[in-house]
Amino acid sequence: MASNLTDKTPDISLIEELCLLAIDDNGVISPVTSDAAFGMSIVGACLVELCLRGRLDAELREIVPGAPPRAVVWVIDRSPVGEPALDYVLSEIAAADVTPVVDWTYRLVSAAPNLLGMALQRLQARGIIALQEKLILWVLKSRRYPVIDGRELREAKLRIVDILIGNSVPTPHDSVLIGLAQTSGVLAQFFSEGELRRLRPKIDEVSSLDIVAKEVDWAIGDEIRRRAQALALAAGAYIG
């Protein structure tokens, strides 16, 4: 029988937990948060959380005849959830028709820095992190977000370890958290390269067991491929 560590869905949203995992022991936000992959993961966290809270539902639909089906998402309940980041995403989706998840991921990624800021503010308001601002050389402002008692962060890490190493079946929340933490680079914050390599088959097996999260993973992979191609083209033009 599995441990009961991973039995309950935590009282913290996916976006908050993803942001929390991106904060290191010194309260410094990981540089990965400025990557497009993290921004898209933040959007994905909001989309899945809205599904978990009964505001959105999703299904697979054949959008282009003959092509593989894509996940589309639509609003089933427009009432706000009371979390600014989630309510922003909900209002955007409510104003549109049923739309592929991939399109939302690309469309909302420009709002990711604001969504991250809203999530950090909410973590502060809930007493989970603090905000420390310092001036460097009297001009440059540095921000740190030290974790206050660390319980939420510790629990998130323990749940992830319990699933990846202890063989627990993940909850829908944890399965998506592991997937988004992996694709955004946050998982590399607390697992070494070797550990990640060893855990890769298990991560692939249990992460993002959800059609919305799988689609966000796909969009992130596609974005990384496109950037790599653009870089290769630019390098070729430079050398040529």
């Binding site: 029988m1 599995a2 009961n4 991973t6 039995d7 599904c51 978990l52 009964g54 539902d57 999703a58 299904e59 697979l60 089906p69 996940a71 089933i76 627990s168 079946v169 993940p170 909850t171 829908p172 399965s175 097996e205 249990v206 992460s207 993002s208 067991l209 959800d210 059609i211 919305v212 799988k214």
Partner: protein, 117 residues
């Protein structure tokens, strides 16, 4: 959506008919969790999906939540006779590869695997 539950020795045989969308998944989660918890430890819940025509992302979460609950409480979950359209959703979500429940081509095969008479 209609749900019927038949109790056999060591098995809860659940037949789901119709669509497992958001609304239906709320009812399904409630009924199936209650059935799972009332079954004896070590029992297998077999979902007969032969008349299940549609699963949305909410329905997938019902299956994952059930699988989680089954593991935690020392029971197991099997899904049988899945229609191709539902199989496609299970495949794309990764649930079929995740080894969190067993899939059987027929209800009889699932009953046999569970050792049900």
């Amino acid at each position: 959506m209609d749900i019927s539950i038949e109790q056999r020795v060591g098995v809860e045989l659940v037949r789901i008919e119709g669509k497992l969308d958001f609304q239906a998944s709320i009812e399904a989660t409630e009924k199936l969790m209650a059935a799972l918890q009332s079954s004896p430890p070590g029992a297998t819940m077999i979902i007969d999906a032969s008349a299940l025509s549609y699963v949305s992302s909410a329905g997938l979460r019902t299956l994952l939540t059930l699988a989680k609950s089954a593991q935690t409480s020392g029971r197991s979950l099997a899904v049988a006779a899945v229609q191709p359209s539902v199989q496609q959703v299970l495949d794309i979500s990764g649930l079929t590869k995740a080894n969190i429940f067993t899939l059987h081509p027929t209800v009889d095969a699932a009953l046999q695997a569970a050792g049900a008479p």
